[in-house]
């Protein structure tokens, strides 16, 4: 029987990674619902607030995921925690995860929301390729449900954005002609006006 306490950092790191994925996916889905206009109007403000807070939460959990794994020497990313593909353990999949984390952090700092789906997709590849539990049904169900839903919204957003070209600049209208003078009132026209 293996003592779970001997691997507590590893278990905590894996759990943080799973919760980070869920929070990030929720933030991405909410963002796509808002940007596609599918979110109901009266809920937009609340959904925007939830998206922002879930995004911050996901970033914290991503950092915790990497830092906690440093405690397990056999899977520790080491320098790969901050430098993509520099990990001594599973450099490709770990590197993709590091790259996703860096992209998402930069997107948050620069307020570049368009980059977030790219980081989210990199994180998905990291989970599929490097996730210990990627083959377990209990993780596959929520993972693929969020992935497919997010991809569908991303496809919807891309399709509607491509279909609607940006409005062309409207040329300046020629100056409107001077309005015709109103006919003089009768009392100014004189007697001959009749």
């Amino acid at each position: 029987v293996t003592d779970p306490l001997a691997h507590v950092w590893w278990l905590a790191g894996r759990s943080a990674g799973i919760v980070a994925w869920l929070a990030l996916s929720a933030a991405v889905v909410l963002g796509l619902l808002l940007v596609t206009g599918l979110a109901p109007g009266r809920a937009r403000e609340m959904l925007g607030l939830a998206r922002d807070r879930l995004g911050v939460l996901a970033l914290g959990l991503l950092a915790a995921h990497g830092v906690l794994l440093l405690g397990e020497p056999r899977v520790s990313p080491g320098l790969g925690l901050v430098v993509p593909f520099a990990s001594g353990h599973d450099p490709l999949w770990t590197g993709l995860g590091t790259l996703a984390g860096i992209l998402l952090a930069v997107a948050a700092i620069a307020r570049a929301r368009q980059v977030v789906p790219v980081g989210w997709l990199l994180a998905a590849v990291h989970v599929i390729g490097g996730g210990t539990d990627a083959g377990s049904l209990w993780l596959q169900v929520p993972f693929y449900v969020t992935l497919v839903y997010g991809l569908a919204l991303l496809g919807w957003w891309a399709a509607t954005t491509v279909r609607e070209p940006p409005p062309e600049p409207v040329p300046p209208e020629p100056a409107a002609p001077e309005p015709a003078l109103a006919p003089a009132p009768l009392w100014l026209r004189g007697e001959g006006g009749r």
Partner: protein, 100 residues
């Protein structure tokens, strides 16, 4: 929208903490039961990969598959004969730890 759905920090942190604790518990139970995919039950009892006897393979295959292994003695099948160590099948349940 009603305040029931208000995404306050308190609610988000509480939900996250609860989910995190549940997952740690689930993974700990799986590890304890030996059902964790990343940490097999016999990981500690399995011999280290370097200590395992290598399966009988042609010399170039052994070099390709086990680059760090010592060079096999001459006399592999088809190369002139010689006493060979008994073939030991590698354990199918090797430790398989992944980072996430």
């Amino acid at each position: 929208m009603s305040a029931r759905w208000d995404p306050s920090w308190r609610r988000l942190l509480a939900g996250t903490g609860l989910l995190f604790a549940l997952l740690v518990g689930l993974l700990a139970i799986r590890v304890h039961a030996g059902a964790d995919p990343g940490l097999r039950r016999d990981a500690t009892s399995a011999p280290a990969p370097q200590e395992r006897a290598l399966p009988q393979l042609p010399r170039h295959e052994r070099r390709r598959l086990y680059p760090g292994a010592p060079a096999p003695p001459y006399g592999m099948p088809g190369q002139g004969g010689g006493a060979l160590p008994p073939r030991v099948e590698p354990s199918p349940r090797l430790p398989d730890m992944r980072s996430s």
